[in-house]
Symmetry: C2
Subunit: 229 residues, 2 copies
């Protein structure tokens, strides 16, 4: 009889140090923020239990997440806060600098320009772009508003790697195409459209109305508890 024991044990492309699961990557920024808070409070070490509680996850998940970046942490003691902050920052690539442009200076673009975390920790907003000539020249949160026609020039000059789209839906795909055309490889999209991009570019979408609709679904579900149908 042929041994059917399954082939699942061969390390297809995991097991390489440096390969961090996507779900873990999404949680690392939360750990980082919580740890920064601890550091500012003068806490030197934390246990997985404490850190997990503060981050709103289970202790086991947290330990597995951290184990993907290496064996920092001391058995019987916990994790050194400052060391862990550094290791997570490095894993996320925050030890490098990324130039960001924000396209669209409506209400949302305005909010993003002033958002803490956009100007700090490795990120720098080099320009705000808008199609409305009336807005050009204005200065918001210390950043000058330029016309969207200058997009290509600005991206080239500052070696922008991340583009934030905060335009109306109708302009989003066009702006995205232009960003991609001049070498931007990461896009954060706030417009309520599905963007079409080539393979190597990755897009993250933040859609406020989608979040609301998901909440509505759960709200409805809670409402019909104990109902037959």
């Amino acid at each position: 009889m042929v041994p059917l024991v399954s082939v699942t044990s061969l390390p297809s492309r995991s097991a390489r140090r440096g390969t961090i699961p996507e779900a873990t990557v999404a949680r690392l920024p939360v750990y980082l923020r919580v740890l920064t808070g601890f550091a500012e409070s003068g806490v030197a070490t934390v246990s997985s239990e404490t850190l997990a509680q503060a981050a709103g996850v289970g202790p086991a998940k947290l330990r597995k997440d951290l184990s993907h970046l290496g064996s920092y942490g001391t058995r019987g003691v916990g994790y050194d806060v400052e060391f862990l902050v550094y290791q997570i920052s490095r894993a996320l690539g925050l030890t490098q600098h990324y130039s960001v442009v924000i396209v669209g200076v409506g209400n949302l673009g305005h909010a993003l320009a002033g958002y803490a975390g956009f100007g700090s920790r490795g990120f720098g907003v080099v320009a705000l772009l808008d199609a409305d000539p009336a807005r050009v020249g204005e200065t918001i949160a210390g950043i000058e508003v330029r016309h969207v026609d200058d997009l290509e020039a600005i991206v080239a000059e500052h070696e922008v790697s991340i583009g934030v789209i905060a335009t109306p839906a109708s302009a989003a795909q066009d702006v995205c195409d232009r960003l991609v055309a001049c070498g931007v490889t990461s896009v954060l999209n706030f417009a309520p459209v599905v963007l079409n991009v080539p393979e190597q570019v990755d897009v993250r979408k933040v859609d406020l109305s989608i979040e609301l609709q998901i909440l509505a679904f759960h709200e409805q579900r809670k409402a019909l508890v104990g109902t037959g149908s």
Copy 2:
């Protein structure tokens, strides 16, 4: 010998009509938006292929998603656009009305108040709340700004079920506690903190800086292609 054929086939709690996987729920709003666009263009029916392309997912995934709400769709033909819009709306609970309050009228609160999709499709923003007395009385996007002290009264009066937190991080937990205390069971949080809520309340978090950090990670990964370490 005991039959070891695995017990995985008993319908633990799936298989109940009305049980929609979380991942599917998160995609339904996208399908809904795309379908609405098709409807406005006068398209009567769509195939899973067409719809999937427009929504940025694979055809198989789309069909499986839709199959969770029932067998709408005709073999050999496709899906009736208007009928599907209705079915998805119903599944998401959008045939009901949800009153929303937005707390925090900074840049972000401002943006949210004007956001299309917050005032439409089953959602209604009944008030904007802020702690700053100077802002009270102002009218933004047709909605009056009230003082945050009136939170309890407003929630009770309008039977608010969804609260949006757009305050600074320091105020978020306090506002959240007050919302929960007067019966709000769904919270959309834009403040960069992990909120502590009781079991039955669900929170969705939108964190702009986290999205940026995730992009930074992938950006870094793309940068060291072909590098040894």
